[in-house]
């Protein structure tokens, strides 16, 4: 059994984010970077599946990322948590890739690695589009088991609880498959000291686009199918009225709601 977990490095959500006026892309240098939080749940889920199957002899966990030099840190984090090896697709031509382009690169890497199961977070905290898992399922022809709040593996069948607005759907498919997980599916482990030391010796393969048989024109700003025309800081919201409750706070809100025709 082979699991590949897709991880993404994102700007720390506490950091102020900016667009780079030169080419309207996210200024990734300007912010501290962390592993996309939802991807940590995916790594944890992979490690738990590995443990249930009896360890690294029965099941390997590979961490895959597409991103600039610095993004190797997100692979390291996965290795520190306990994954076995890593793959980092890095290429200057990737800069400015949109979700379609990124999913094309991830798909090529997944096709070449040929895992039984692909795990990933259901969205990234920076772009928040929540489209890459579906795109990846479409591109790799794997059944799409997205927004999983629970994952069970039963022989060559994978079954998830797909979280919906009204509760959840139970969805199943045969391996090979693709699963995206939601927040709180588990409690991601912190890397132990031993894990951090061991990670230094774990292999990380670096691939360029050409290694995956991809041409530069299909990715990056050149290959992206949407573009930012312009951007502007929003005027800050006009200051509202704030009153202190003196026993009539509720009535005052009701007066405001009446004035605004909500009631």
């Amino acid at each position: 059994m082979k699991i590949v977990v897709c991880v993404k490095q994102v700007p720390d959500s506490w950091a102020e984010k900016k667009l780079n006026p030169a080419d309207n892309t996210l200024d990734r240098e300007a912010a501290d970077a962390v592993v996309n939080e939802l991807d940590e749940y995916a790594v944890e889920e992979a490690l738990q599946i590995q443990e249930r199957l009896g360890g690294a002899e029965a099941c390997t966990v590979t961490v895959l990322t597409v991103g600039p030099e610095k993004a190797i840190e997100s692979v390291r984090k996965g290795l520190q948590m306990g994954a076995d090896d890593g793959v980092h697709v890095v290429d200057d031509a990737l800069h400015g890739s949109d979700a379609l382009a990124t999913s094309a690169v991830l798909a090529a890497a997944i096709d070449s690695l040929g895992p039984d199961l692909v795990l990933m977070g259901s969205e990234s905290t920076d772009a928040r589009m929540s489209v890459v898992p579906a795109m990846l399922a479409e591109r790799t022809g794997r059944p799409q088991l997205t927004f999983a709040g629970k994952v069970d593996l039963d022989g060559d069948t994978v079954r998830i609880q797909r979280v919906t607005d009204y509760g959840y759907d139970v969805v199943e498919a045969k391996l090979p498959a693709l699963v995206s997980v939601v927040e709180k599916i588990n409690e991601p482990r912190y890397p132990s000291f031993k894990g951090i030391m061991a990670a230094k010796k774990k292999p990380v393969q670096t691939l360029a686009l050409a290694d995956l048989g991809l041409e530069a024109g299909v990715v990056g700003l050149a290959g992206s199918r949407s573009s930012v025309q312009d951007f502007a800081a929003r005027p800050p919201r006009a200051a509202g009225t704030v009153v202190t409750d003196e026993g009539d706070g509720g009535t005052k809100v009701a007066d405001f709601l009446s004035a605004q025709k909500f009631i």
């Binding site: 379609l100 905290t125 589009m129 489209v131 609880q161 509760g167 498919a173 949407s226 605004q260």
Partner: protein, 317 residues
């Protein structure tokens, strides 16, 4: 005029409000055409017509609900082929975005998600970085696919020409690979869906306990609102996780958002900052949430909210 497709959201014979919003928006961009997939009753077709659809493409069949999104992508693609549409609008819900994402791969066209408006020529407005920046984006290749957030425009009723066209859809085996074997509904007490609701009433750590959420729910019910929660409240297990608003929860953009006992951390703001109007109740006058509000009360939510609920109920008669 060229057609603009709107992916209709409907369940149990009812068409969701966001569909009417998108039909209204589509009318500003071309000739609105709805695409209804699944168990499409005559009622659904009639409401889409009343909501402004000049053409209604129908892919009728109960089996669309049996598999995860892929068969619906085939239906939407068939509608695109049949209509020669110049643009496609889908609701920016979890499923709407997944359908859009797969369609974009199939057609090779660009996709824009979470638009809060679409201008002539399919220029999408997006509000990013917790609402601090407004971006205009365009699709540069293919027929634009744009996922628009609920509550971005006010729906207008406009009788459409209501031509019905039944689609001939071929669903590949590979698109049936993920099978829904069961559907589990969790109690929602008849409240509107969080991402669609016109009013959202949220509670945070200041609510203090699971039982404390009854004051939030009572206010929500008096206003016909959905209930939301901050991560501090969902982490504590006081309210179910699917109601979390924020960066790692739902993004909401209602007409009115009422934040109670919520400090206003950047990650919470990321999920609610595009609300048209914001009210906060917080006992700390320095809480950052007050920077966002149209109206705020410095006070204890456990006394302010019951009074408010009573007033709302009384005034609504």
């Amino acid at each position: 005029m060229a057609e603009v497709l709107v992916l209709a959201e409907h369940a149990g014979g009812d068409v969701k409000k966001v569909t009417f919003e998108l039909l209204t928006l589509a009318r500003t961009l071309g000739e609105p055409a709805a695409v209804a997939i699944g168990e499409v009753s005559d009622d659904v077709v009639a409401s889409l017509a009343a909501g402004g659809a000049d053409t209604i493409y129908v892919a009728n069949g109960a089996e669309y609900a049996d598999h995860v999104v892929a068969p619906k992508v085939s239906a939407l693609q068939a509608a695109l082929a049949a209509s020669g549409a110049v643009g496609i609008l889908v609701p920016a819900t979890a499923e709407g975005k997944e359908i859009a994402a797969r369609l974009a791969v199939r057609t090779g066209a660009g996709i824009i998600t979470d638009a809060v408006g679409v201008d002539a020529g399919f220029v999408a407005q997006q509000s990013v970085f917790g609402g601090s920046t407004l971006v205009h984006s365009v699709v540069t290749t293919g027929t634009p696919i744009i996922a628009v957030r609920p509550n971005s425009v006010a729906a207008e009723q406009y009788p459409g020409a209501a031509r019905r066209i039944d689609l001939d859809v071929t669903v590949a085996d590979i698109d049936r690979a993920a099978t829904v074997t069961d559907r589990v509904a969790q109690e929602r007490a008849g409240r509107p869906e969080l991402t669609e609701a016109a009013i959202v009433v949220s509670g945070g750590r200041g609510v203090g306990s699971p039982e404390g959420f009854s004051v939030i729910e009572s206010l929500a019910d008096s206003l016909g609102a959905a209930v939301g929660a901050s991560r501090a409240a969902t982490d504590a297990g006081w309210y179910p996780h699917q109601f979390q608003v924020g960066q790692t929860g739902k993004t909401v953009s209602p007409q009115l958002y009422i934040a109670n006992g919520i400090s206003g951390a950047i990650q919470h703001r990321a999920g609610m900052q595009t609300s048209k109007m914001i009210i906060a109740v917080n006992k700390d006058a320095e809480a950052p949430i007050f920077d966002l509000v149209d109206f705020g009360v410095v006070g204890d939510l456990h006394t302010v909210l019951p009074q408010l609920t009573e007033e709302v109920t009384r005034r609504r008669g």
